[in-house]
C-alpha cells in the first residue's frame, strides 16, 4: 500500500501491522497528551511536586534524556571532527534518537514551568549568570542543529528525493554537515555542562554544590563528559533492541564495536574523574560545611549508600570494564548487560543530582522530604517515549536510517 515510499532494497512489515503498532503507541501518546493538557489547563497542582520538591520527576527526565541523547553529538563529533568514518553507518540513527530526546526535553520543560505562556521570558529577559539560561539557549540552538541534521534524512525518502530542489538541498546539507556538527558539538558541550552546572552552583545545597574552574563547577565538566560517555551506549542499546524487534541485523559488528570501545574508554575515564570528585567533595567540601558523607545517605528506602554504589560501581565501573575488553564487546549478552547498566548508571546520576538534592534537609531541624510522582507526571514522562517509538517506526519504515541494512539483509529475487 505504501511501498512507493519504502526505501528500495529493504523489506518492511505489512502496512496494517505497521498501523496497528502506531495505534498502540498512539494510545499511550494520547494518555500523555491528556495529562499534559491537564497540567497546562489546570496548573502544576496536578503534580505531586511541592515546595520542597520544586524540581522533581520532569527535571530528572529532562536531564536523563539529554544525557542519553548525547550519542548524537558525540557520534557527530567523532565522525565529522575526529574522522571516524565507520560511524557514518550509525550517525543517522544517533541523530534520530538525539532529535527525539531533545524535542522531548523541550516539551517536558514547557510543561514543567508554572506559566508556560511566559516561557519566552527566559530568552527575552535572559539572566546571563544563570545556568538555566545557558541550558535554554544551547538546548534550543542544539535542537535546531539536530533538526538540520535530521532534515537531509527526511529528504532522502524515495519520493521526496525525486523532487530536484529537495535532492539538491539534501546534497548541499550533507556537504556542509561538518560545520553544523561542529557547531552542535560546541553547543552540546555548553548545554550538557550547564545542566550539570544547575546543581553544582547551588551553594545553599551542600549535596549538590561543587567547587570548580572559573565560573563552572566540576559538575559542568562531569555532565558533558558523562553524556559523551553514556550517550553512545543508549544508541547501541536502541540499535540492538531494534534488531531484536525487526529480526534483522542493521549495523555491522565492527561499527558497534568501535563505538562501544570508545564509549568504554569514556566511561572509564569519566568514572575515574567522578570518584575523585566524590572523594574531594566528601572529605573537603562537605566537611567545611559542618557535615559528613553519611548525612546525605539515610536509611530510608530511597537514599541509602546503595545509590552511590549503584551509580559508580554497577552503572559505571562494570560497564566500563566490559566495554574495554574485546571479549566483553564480542559477547552479545555482556554487551547487552554493559549498555543497560550504563544507561541505568547515568540515569541514577541525574536522579541523584536532582531528586536527592531536594530530599536532603539542609537546616538541621528539618527532615528528609520524600516524594512520589502523580499519574499526570508519570504520563507526561512516558509521553516522549511513545512519541519516540512512533517517530522511530515512521523513520525506520520510510527513510534510509541504516545504510548497511540492504547489504546485511539481501532480498532474494523470485
Amino acid at each position: 500500500m505504501d511501498s512507493a515510499f519504502i526505501p528500495e532494497g529493504v523489506k518492511r512489515c505489512p502496512f496494517p501491522q505497521f498501523l496497528a503498532g502506531l495505534g498502540l503507541a498512539g494510545v499511550v501518546l494520547a494518555w500523555g497528551i491528556f495529562a499534559m493538557l491537564l497540567c497546562w489547563l489546570k496548573g502544576l497542582n496536578q503534580t505531586n511536586m511541592n515546595d520542597s520538591y520544586g524540581f522533581a520527576l520532569w527535571i530528572w527526565a529532562d536531564l536523563a534524556v539529554i544525557a542519553l541523547g548525547g550519542g548524537a553529538f558525540f557520534s557527530g563529533f567523532l565522525k565529522y571532527i575526529v574522522g571516524k568514518d565507520e560511524l557514518k553507518n550509525i550517525i543517522n540513527f544517533a541523530v534520530l534518537i538525539g532529535f527525539i530526546c531533545y524535542s522531548s526535553a523541550l516539551l517536558i520543560l514547557a510543561i514543567d514551568i508554572g506559566q508556560p505562556l511566559r516561557g519566552w521570558f527566559i530568552f527575552w529577559h535572559a539572566n546571563v549568570h544563570s545556568m538555566l539560561t545557558e541550558v535554554a539557549f544551547c538546548l534550543s540552538c542544539y535542537f535546531g542543529v539536530l533538526t538540520i541534521e535530521y532534515i537531509p534524512l527526511i529528504l532522502e525518502n524515495r519520493q521526496i528525493d525525486k523532487i530536484p530542489f529537495f535532492h539538491n538541498l539534501s546534497h548541499n546539507m550533507h556537504e556542509v554537515m561538518a560545520v553544523f556538527a561542529a557547531t552542535g558539538a560546541f553547543l552540546s558541550f555548553f548545554h550538557q555542562g550547564s545542566l550539570g552546572g544547575i546543581a553544582g552552583v547551588l551553594f545553599g545545597r551542600p549535596f549538590a554544590y561543587r567547587e570548580g574552574l572559573l565560573v563552572w563547577p566540576w559538575t559542568f565538566f562531569l555532565f558533558t563528559w558523562s553524556a559523551a560517555a553514556y550517550g553512545p551506549c543508549f544508541t547501541i542499546f536502541l540499535i540492538k533492541l531494534l534488531e531484536k524487534i525487526t529480526g534483522k541485523k542493521l549495523v555491522k559488528d565492527n561499527v558497534i564495536d568501535l563505538l562501544a570501545k570508545i564509549s568504554g574508554w569514556m566511561i572509564f575515564t569519566y568514572i575515574f574523574a567522578k570518584i575523585i570528585d566524590t572523594w574531594y567533595w566528601a572529605v573537603v567540601t562537605v566537611q567545611s560545611k559542618g557535615q559528613t558523607l553519611m548525612d546525605f545517605y539515610d536509611d530510608n528506602m530511597f537514599y541509602g549508600l546503595w545509590i552511590l554504589v549503584a551509580e559508580i560501581v554497577v552503572g559505571g565501573i562494570f560497564p566500563a570494564l566490559i566495554l574495554l575488553t574485546k571479549k566483553g564487546r564480542n559477547s552479545a549478552s555482556l554487551l547487552w548487560a554493559a549498555v543497560i547498566l550504563a544507561c541505568l548508571g547515568v540515569c541514577i546520576n541525574r536522579w541523584v543530582m536532582v531528586l536527592q538534592v531536594m530530599a536532603i534537609p539542609v537546616l538541621p531541624f528539618e527532615d528528609w522530604a520524600l516524594y512520589y510522582p502523580s499519574w499526570q507526571e508519570i504520563a507526561t514522562t512516558i509521553l516522549p517515549v511513545a512519541y519516540g517509538v512512533i517517530l522511530v517506526m515512521i523513520s525506520y519504515r520510510y527513510l534510509p536510517i541504516f545504510p548497511q541494512e540492504k547489504e546485511l539483509n539481501p532480498i532474494e529475487s523470485h
Partner: protein
Amino acid sequence: MFPFISFEWVWDIEHVVFMGGLWYAVSILGIGMAYCIIKAAIDKKEV
C-alpha cells in the same frame, strides 16, 4: 538578549561573551542553511 533593544542589556564581559557565543552559533546555522537552500534553488534552475 538583544543589544540596543532589550532594556536589560548591559555592555559587560558576561553579556558580550555569553550572547556573543549564542549569536555566533545562530549565525553559523542561519548562514549555513541559507547557503544550502539558495544553492539548491540555483542548482535546480540550472538543471
